[in-house]
Amino acid sequence: MAAHLKKRVYEEFSKVVQQLPHEEVPAKKLRLTKPSKSAALHIDLCKATNATDALQYLLNFARKPVEAESVEGVVRILLEHYYKEVDNSVRLKIASLLGLLSKTAGFSPDCIVDDVISTLNNDKSKQVLAQLLDTLLVIGTQLPENIAVTQRLIDVACKHLNSTFFGVRNKCLQLLGCLGTVDKPLTKESETGPSASATPPRDVPSLISDYFSDQDPRVRTAAIKAMLQLHERGMKLQQTVYNQACKLLSDDYEQVRSAAVQMVWPFLMAFIVPIPSSNEEIRLVDDSFGKICHMVSDGSWVVRVQAAKLLGSMQQVSPHFLEQTLDKKLMSDLRRKRTAHERAKELYTSGEFSSGRRWADDAPKEKVDTSGVNLIDSGACGAFVHGLEDEMYEVRIAAVEALCSLAQASPSFAEKCLDFLVDMFNDEIEEVRLQSIHALRQISTNITLREDQLDTVLAVLEDSSRDIREALHELLCYANVSTKECIQLALLELLKNLTKYPTDRNSVWKCLKFLGARHPTLVLPIVPELLSTHPYFDTPEPDMDDPAYIAVLVLVFNAAKSCPTMPALFSDHTFRHYAYLRDSLSHLVPQLRLPGRKQVAGTSSETSGVGAGSLESAQHFLQESLARVSTLQNLDSPGAQELLHFTIRDLQRLGELQTDLAGSADFCATYLHCQLLLMKALQEKLWNMAVPLCLKQNAMASTAAQQILEETYKLEFLYSGLESRQVATIHNVRLQAKALQLILIARTKRGVEPLLALCEKFLQEVEAFQRLFITELPHFQDSFVEKLLELMPRLVACKPLDLVKILQTTLRQSRFIHLKLPEQIHRALATIIEPTGESDNPLRFTSGLVVALDIDATLEHVQEPQTVVKVQVLYPDGQSHIIHPKPGDFRTPGPGRVRLITQVYLSHSAWTEPCQIEVRLLLAYSSSSSKLAAPKPAWNESMEGLPTSENLIEGTINLSKPVKVFIMPKPARR
């Protein structure tokens, strides 16, 4: 027993001993990697006893970036190990590392070409060969200019093309596709074998096209892709290649077919111009178009999606051919039949609207000539019909998109495909319905809806999905309708929608606004009916708070804007309601010229005068005021403060009046405000006072500094459209503010210790500025930053207190930097539509449980809203929660606009009274996400090893006004 125990002890002991060096290794390595990567790698690889270990080291090594200077050394070490290594997987990894390394910016990989090629000739393992070729591909793409290397690589590729391993052949073809040239024949082909010596030298495309009939589908795919690559690089493809590609369209493998579909497409583009003398090329276009149409009924849905997408890009195909894609050539019992669409149209034009009552109206008409019917080879026939009723919704969506882009290009086609898009509104999958509604919206400028079509469109208003309904409202905003019945129908359905879903109120009103403004003449005849006026009798006055009535009024008033005879039909209360609505819903109700009513001089001159001319004058005004400010040379100059005051005021007012310039004006005003604050802070008397006396005034200066800092963040992150020059200007102001802070701290705090760290940090920031904006520095003459940079050597050396003194003088002497405005600046904006904050009924829920609050907000000019926009909930007790909405909650109804519809979960312990919480949207920023942050290292498989920059600042800016919500958490009943 004792012996046994002893043995165990020894065992355990020995284990520990064994593990010790093992655990030390990674720790050591970490330290080593920083100074020199190559040395560490060498040590690691030497230490590795078996293949698994070596592989592990290499994997770890690959996670960290290598500086450009040491790449060369690392490559040598890797190659050295490569020659020694017997294990295939390790060699494979080394080969892949070589490829990765040659991508490093600043490293020229031509020095390793020879090594790689020589290893290529010696290696036996096929996988390794393939990887080495891949490495060569990387090197080749890095050195597109070096013709000698390219030629060598092509030769290598040709040599290995007849390998038995598909991967090697794949990579060779890839190489040829990326690097091959058409003009230069492959002279060295004859070296590859005696059998080939008989054949004349061949060019790259014909060599690649040999592999179109390779036995391996993967190689066939690679060959097609290589050919496509050649095409992308501007080589002209031969007609023979087209014929081969067409053959591949009926390949057994879907990947080959899918690639072949792409291959056919360039021909369509290449020979698009019909040449009058030879109709050969016209036929080619038709032919390839027909081929792609054919692929819409392929067996594999991947290919179908591909083909349907391509159809959308064929805008140049002749309209006659395009229209065939919508025609399936129906027949029944060998007799020609009209489609339901044709019948509907005929019925409509013959004046009879409702269908379905007539006996056998779909009865087949004339007899079809049996020999004339082609069941399969009718080319383009009905490609879209098939695509739109495909089994997979991916195909249907692709088809809808294709229809949309084709219809945008051709109005006549838009007219034709309308019926099909409208039919898609009944699709079983919501995404498809939504997509087709969007598509219809995009083409709606080209078309006018018929009554029966509108009927189908409007039926969708009852859909339970909010997205669908809103998309439809959006569509109706742009739609043209043909008759007054259509308007009536639309209004009726929209009102129905309003009663069914009261939350749609805003969207419905907006929709009616556009509907009215677009069709004033159609609205005119139905106004009495809409307003329920009567020639003889007075009708009761409708309820002004009724959303439906408001909806009707919005329609009528917007129509009346361009129809001066309409107001004559209004009754008295309508005018009163107009005045009320004009005030309360000014964005929906336009200014009307009403008879017998005086227009308010002040407001009307402003709003009605806003036209094209005023925009220019406003722009001019903006420039003038900026120029005026720019006369200020120094912050100390007398009268400067007043001038700034007035300019800021002017600019703010300008922003209110001219919405187009609001962004720029606001931006300038804020910037000038920063300057003003700075000016005030510097002119405080405190600078002349003894340190102990100035504590009180200090407060003012330090708040100013704090405020400037905040404003600069707003300037940088809230406005879009800034160029790096503006950002540099903002950073300059920020540095000034920081310098001010530093000085204030130096004056208040005793001791040097805390100051030392602060100074260090400040200097780092100045350096960072130099790094980031080196190109902008010429614009910064006499500025604070420039002066600092001049003094930099001295600053680094001197003591903190001296530094503070220098800062103080430079701050005072530095010149005011003038703002140069970029083209367009937009301020990020957010408005919370829902909750409205008007409700008096508290949201009751059991405390400790969760209640969901629906939030609906629109965001404007926010870049990447998915990452930066947050929702803040502020409880009365000061608790605040920040919630990140899901990326899926952001919808994009239009360019520059984003809609956030999300649910925020609230919870709290019990309250005795209902109380209000505040909900608002925040814009999160961090200085690392700044557009001008240092470019990320090129070689980043993962960034975990990188230290984050020290001066990373994260914060949030309020994006919207807070909305108050009444909530009442009740104690749980026991």
Partner: protein, 615 residues
């Protein structure tokens, strides 16, 4: 040459009682075993006496495959297996196996209990028959025996409908059953891979029709129903209990929900509930939408659709009733039709194909007066001296035909042919005239032969099956080493080897191995040949001259001068001798074995030319 024989017992140039016999590679297979809706006599079932006059079918059939559960494809199954007698395996998919007995039982009830027929199969027979069923999964290859294998593909049409590939060796036949190439509200589209069968047996119900997009059809249907309901009319939709009914249910259910309609929808007969249960279960067989959303809500759990009771038919107000059977030839749908036919507000929507002779077929052709057997006597007529009660039914209600039938149209059939790339096509399940059109088209477009046999007519297709041979790896490697590294797929290549046919297997091996395996000793075959040379030198000199000559000509070969005054080129021996009389005339003796024939004959011709004088 081997051939494949196909004989339709039913569904040859006809619709109904699908039953097709296929003999392929010595195996006999029966595809489907259906009944005919149009007949009530013996013609109802396929004529099994074609297979054998007496005795059981088991000895003549290797297996029976049922494509889907419609009665015209499986209605005669219990009759065949239990009454005629068949004990072999019956293959069908899982959903078909589940639903088939329900339909058979229903069919039996109507025929036996209602019409009072005798000599019909019993419930027990249905049960016994179902015990012989072997279920199939999609894309699963099932070995029926060592040689015969079958594989099922998705066919759309109804839940569980399958196309089957039957394969013996490299010969194969694909039978489509009924299929649909356009997806609908509850099922996907048929799909098959490029299996290149020798014969594709396809249905051709809609051989002469190209249908409008299904979306228009759906909208039309909904509009018609909606209008009739708004008028206060009643809508009768005769359906097969399963299949179209479920699609229309889903369509109406979603429409009702969207439009917020209140009129009741009824679904007749109790078997539907059972069947709906199966629809809920076999979600994997349905379309993309249902498969994706069933976790939230199973589409087959209807909210608006309720079970029908006979008394409801007289209720006032609008309603929609789905009733079986689909062709209005009997049962509940006919009863309701009789009740509602007189009112022009009502409507009947025929959603599918109607066989000739059924009421459905008659009214679709616009017949306004129908003769019916019935208990309520309105007019009496004497027919052959028998007093039969006949009512004349006036058809006032609207008759609509919505082509919701889930068969492929002409374009769909062509699409399937393009997918499968068969060598021959055989059309069944359609009307002769329409078939003829499609046959022409197929022959014209694809340039392959197409057949359309009538019932009982046999079509024979000769095939050219490839015979697989196992090649020994060593031999293959040796050949690979000889010629370039890559086999060129475009060119055939010849190689030496020995074909061993033993125990029903074919193998190609190297000659040495063949000898070893067969225990035979090798016979050496040597050729000897004398070549006369005029050479003034001595024998040994001549030999060395020959040696150096050969050495210079045959660069890549091993040429040896052996001490026993012979020259060896590889295995070829050369000797020189001369007679005393004519010392200048040297006789060169060449000897080579059969394997070196090529080199040997080359050498002899070379030597015949004489030695170059330069040596």
């Amino acid at each position: 040459m081997p051939d494949i024989k196909v004989t339709p017992l039913g569904a040859g140039q006809d619709v109904g009682r699908s039953c097709i016999l296929v003999s392929i590679g010595g195996k006999n297979i029966m595809l489907d075993c259906g009944m005919h809706m149009g007949y009530n006599d013996d013609r109802r079932f396929p004529d099994f006496s074609y297979i054998t006059q007496n005795g059981r079918l088991t000895d003549y059939l290797d297996c029976v495959i049922i494509s889907h559960f419609h009665l015209d494809h499986c209605g005669a199954l219990p009759y065949m297996s239990e009454m005629v007698g068949y004990d072999g395996p019956i293959y069908m998919t899982h959903p078909t196996k589940a639903i088939c007995p329900i339909l058979l039982e229903d069919f039996r009830k109507i025929t036996v209990d209602k019409k009072g027929e005798t000599n019909f199969f019993t419930s027990q027979m249905i049960k016994d028959c179902m015990k012989k069923v072997v279920p199939l999964n999609l894309h699963q290859t099932v070995q029926v025996d060592d040689e015969l294998e079958i594989k099922a593909y998705y066919a759309g049409h109804v839940l569980g409908a399958a196309m089957v590939q039957i394969k013996v060796g490299s010969e194969s036949v694909v039978y489509t059953g009924d299929y649909n190439m356009t997806p609908d509200r509850h099922l996907g589209a048929a799909w098959i891979d490029k299996c290149r069968p020798d014969i594709l047996i396809t249905e051709s119900t809609y051989a002469t029709t190209i249908r409008d997009s299904k979306r228009c059809r759906e909208r039309d249907f909904l509009k018609k129903v909606h209008e009739s309901i708004e008028r206060g009319g009643k809508v009768l939709i005769p359906v097969f209990a399963l299949g179209r009914a479920q699609e229309l249910c889903i369509l109406l259910e979603t429409f009702w929900e969207r439009m917020n309609l209140k009129a009741p929808i009824y679904f007749s007969t109790g078997l539907t509930e059972k069947a709906n249960h199966y629809y809920k279960l076999f979600i994997t067989w349905t379309n993309q939408k249902i498969r994706k959303t069933f976790v939230q809500r199973n589409m087959f759990e209807f909210k608006h659709i309720k079970a029908f009771d006979r008394s409801y038919a007289d209720n006032p107000g609008p309603m929609v009733v789905f009733a079986t059977p689909g062709m209005l030839h009997a049962g509940q749908s006919l009863q309701i039709f009789k009740k509602w036919a007189g009112n022009e507000k009502n409507m009947v929507i025929m959603p599918g194909y109607c066989v000739q002779g059924t009421v459905g077929h008659k009214i679709l052709n616009g017949q306004k007066k129908l003769e019916m057997e019935g208990r309520a006597t309105i007019s009496l007529r004497l027919i052959d001296g028998v007093c039969a009660s006949v009512i004349i039914l006036e058809v006032k209600l609207q008759v609509e035909y919505m082509s919701f039938s889930a068969h492929a149209d002409a374009k769909g059939i062509m699409q399937l042919i393009r997918m499968a790339e068969p060598h021959n096509i055989l059309l069944v399940h359609g009307e002769a005239k329409k078939m003829a059109f499609l046959k022409d088209k197929i022959e014209q477009e694809f340039n392959i032969s197409c057949y359309m046999p009538a019932n009982g007519e046999t079509t024979t297709v000769t095939t050219n099956p490839s015979v697989p041979v196992d090649i020994s790896l060593n031999l293959l490697k040796r050949e690979m080493a000889l010629g370039g590294p890559l086999p060129d797929p475009k060119r055939p290549r010849t190689m030496h080897g020995t074909l061993i046919m033993k125990d029903n297997s074919l193998r190609l091996v190297s000659p040495e191995q063949a000898l070893k395996e067969l225990g035979l000793s090798e016979h050496q075959l040597r050729f000897t040949c004398r070549v006369h040379l005029q050479d003034p030198h001595s024998d040994t000199d001549t030999l060395s001259r020959i040696y150096s000559h050969l050495k210079s000509v045959l660069k890549g070969y091993a040429v040896q001068h052996l001490p026993d005054s012979t020259v060896m080129v590889e295995s070829i021996v050369l000797k020189v001798s001369s007679s005393a009389e004519e010392p200048d005339l040297k006789v060169v003796l060449l000897s080579w074995c059969f394997q070196d024939e090529e080199l040997g004959s080359f050498l002899s011709t070379l030597l015949k030319k004489g030695l170059p004088s330069a040596l």
